[in-house]
């Protein structure tokens, strides 16, 4: 990134991020549907000997049902499962001043967001990190590591909790649950598709003969078929890019909302700087929960680098860019009022 941090109000950023998230979710749905319909049309229909696929799009429905099933499982049991897998324990405000402060800050942010106070958990790990779970604000919980409480001052902690509270308020956990479930469905469908293709290949001997079988379908169908085949093979990778894109846009949105809640973007910016400096894998937080954390717990350098490659692969945007955006917001939030926007 060579251009100066953009000056955008958190309201503008929120609107933009919401739109992006919706677009990506729609793309994800279309993607699963395309994969499933193709499977019905080219493979299952062929197996049954029905021209144009079966009347009931079996694989499409199966893929969506599979996704829905996984979404339901994590919907009802996901929060408990994540907390359990990270060895989180309920915060003890009576016995530890640091945890008392943590609980206080969570209450403050809940008031600022106008939400019920989430449950508070502490993860016994020295690496500073934080995450939120729960399908809606009524069932939400916020967990921080002991390392985070030890290293951040009050303003920085407030920024981090504001970020997590935004995940709760913006229903990010719900969106990411959906994405994870659809991601599973995509991988499954793609697997079935590849098996179907190889069996079909075996029966007909060559692609050309199978195209000829379809007769009237002609060249258009062949092109569509090749496109579908490419998508089926590349599906897991493409789905991963989409999932990461949702995760990243949600992180930007949570940063922007945290600034709205605390009215102090510099607190979070300073916290991110400390988290960046202390970057080592958070051992207690496993792969599956990475997208829930304030910074990537796996310590992947890909999240730190800038450029196209990092843009595509990380669950989190580069910390430097997040800091720059927050500091840009601080420029707009100074008491002098509206400052002119620059490109």
């Amino acid at each position: 990134m060579t251009h100066a941090p953009q000056r955008a109000t958190f309201y503008e950023l929120q609107a933009k991020n919401r739109l992006n998230s919706v677009l990506v979710l729609v793309a994800f749905f279309a993607f699963v549907a395309f994969l499933g319909l193709g499977l019905d049309w080219f493979v299952f229909g062929e197996m049954l000997g029905v021209e144009g696929g079966p009347t009931v799009p079996f694989f499409t429905l199966f893929g969506l049902a599979w996704g829905a099933f996984h979404a339901a499982v994590s919907w009802f049991g996901g929060a408990r499962q994540v907390l359990h897998s990270t060895h989180a324990r309920p915060a003890r405000p009576e016995s530890s001043p640091a945890e008392k402060q943590f609980v206080n800050v969570v209450e403050e942010m809940a008031i600022a967001a106008g939400l019920p106070v989430p449950k508070t958990y502490v993860v016994p790990d020295d690496d500073p990190n934080a995450f939120a779970v729960g399908r809606d604000p009524e069932h939400a919980a916020i967990a921080v590591t002991e390392g985070l409480l030890a290293q951040l001052d009050r303003d920085e902690l407030q920024g981090v909790i504001g970020h997590e509270m935004s995940h709760v308020r913006n229903l990010d956990i719900r969106a990411l649950t959906l994405v994870t479930a659809l991601f599973g469905a995509t991988v499954l469908l793609s697997d079935v598709a590849r098996r179907g293709l190889s069996s079909r290949h075996g029966r007909h001997g060559s692609w050309r003969s199978s195209d000829n079988d379809r007769g009237g379908g002609g060249g258009g169908m062949a092109i569509l078929f090749i496109a579908w085949m490419l998508v089926a093979v590349l599906a897991p990778i493409l789905a991963r890019f989409l999932a990461m894109a949702v995760s990243r846009s949600r992180e930007y949105l949570a940063d922007a909302s945290a600034a709205e809640l605390t009215r102090n973007p510099l607190g979070l910016a300073s916290a991110l700087r400390k988290l960046d400096a202390a970057h080592e894998p958070t051992h207690q937080i496993s792969q599956g929960s990475a997208h829930l954390c304030i910074t990537d717990p796996r310590g992947l350098r890909v999240n730190e680098r800038d450029g196209a490659f990092a843009d595509w692969l990380g669950t989190h945007p580069p910390i430097a860019r997040r800091i720059a955006l927050l500091e840009g917001m601080a420029g707009v939030l100074t008491p002098s009022g509206e400052s002119p926007r620059s490109g």
Partner: protein, 185 residues
């Protein structure tokens, strides 16, 4: 056939109107709820003050005046008969507590006193909660007023006589007499 289509349009319009109206009512209730939340936080703060004063008054000999001011302002806030009067008193409590927090740093005895440290965190949290409750109130008022002033909310608001709510003004620290408009008209 045309009659049916017209009926459909009318039904859709009524449903839409009801939705718009309910949205405004919902926002108005949110404004009232946010207002009540400020009260809840002010009450918490009021309960905390005697405890705070008892803990620090032996040590902070040079701040007796500040302590007294906080206690007096609290008493006036509790006994206030009008919202405006209470607003002024609560603002004075805030000022006094802010000053106490600032000078507590100068007392080494307090810094090593676990009880005092806990109180310091408690006062900070309490002041923040009051502040964030006010901020949330203003955020909701902004939403409510924007909904009333933009199309089509402005038409509905006019038809059903919705009134914009007032923002809470934050007193500037350097004003001699803090003026807080707490009235919810």
């Amino acid at each position: 056939m045309i009659g049916l289509i017209l009926l459909g349009i009318v039904v859709l319009f009524v449903v839409w109107l009801v939705g718009q109206f309910n949205g405004l009512v919902q926002l108005r209730n949110q404004v009232q709820n946010a207002w009540a939340q400020i009260d809840v936080q002010l009450k918490r703060r009021s309960d905390l003050i005697p405890n705070l004063v008892n803990t620090v008054k032996g040590v902070m000999k040079f701040e007796q005046e500040t302590l007294e001011k906080v206690m007096n302002a609290r008493a006036r806030a509790l006994g206030a008969t009008s919202i405006a009067e209470r607003g002024v008193a609560e603002a004075e409590v805030s000022q006094g507590l802010g000053r106490l927090l600032a000078v507590m740093e100068n007392y080494p005895e307090l810094k090593s006193n676990q009880n005092a440290l806990q109180l310091q965190e408690e006062v900070t949290a309490t002041e923040n909660k009051v502040g964030f409750a006010r901020q949330f109130y203003n955020d909701v008022v902004m939403k409510f007023n924007t909904a009333q002033q933009t199309f089509p909310g402005n038409v509905i608001a006019g038809m059903f006589n919705f009134k914009p709510s007032d923002f809470l003004q934050v007193p500037e620290a350097d004003r001699a007499v803090p003026k807080v408009d707490l009235s919810l008209s």
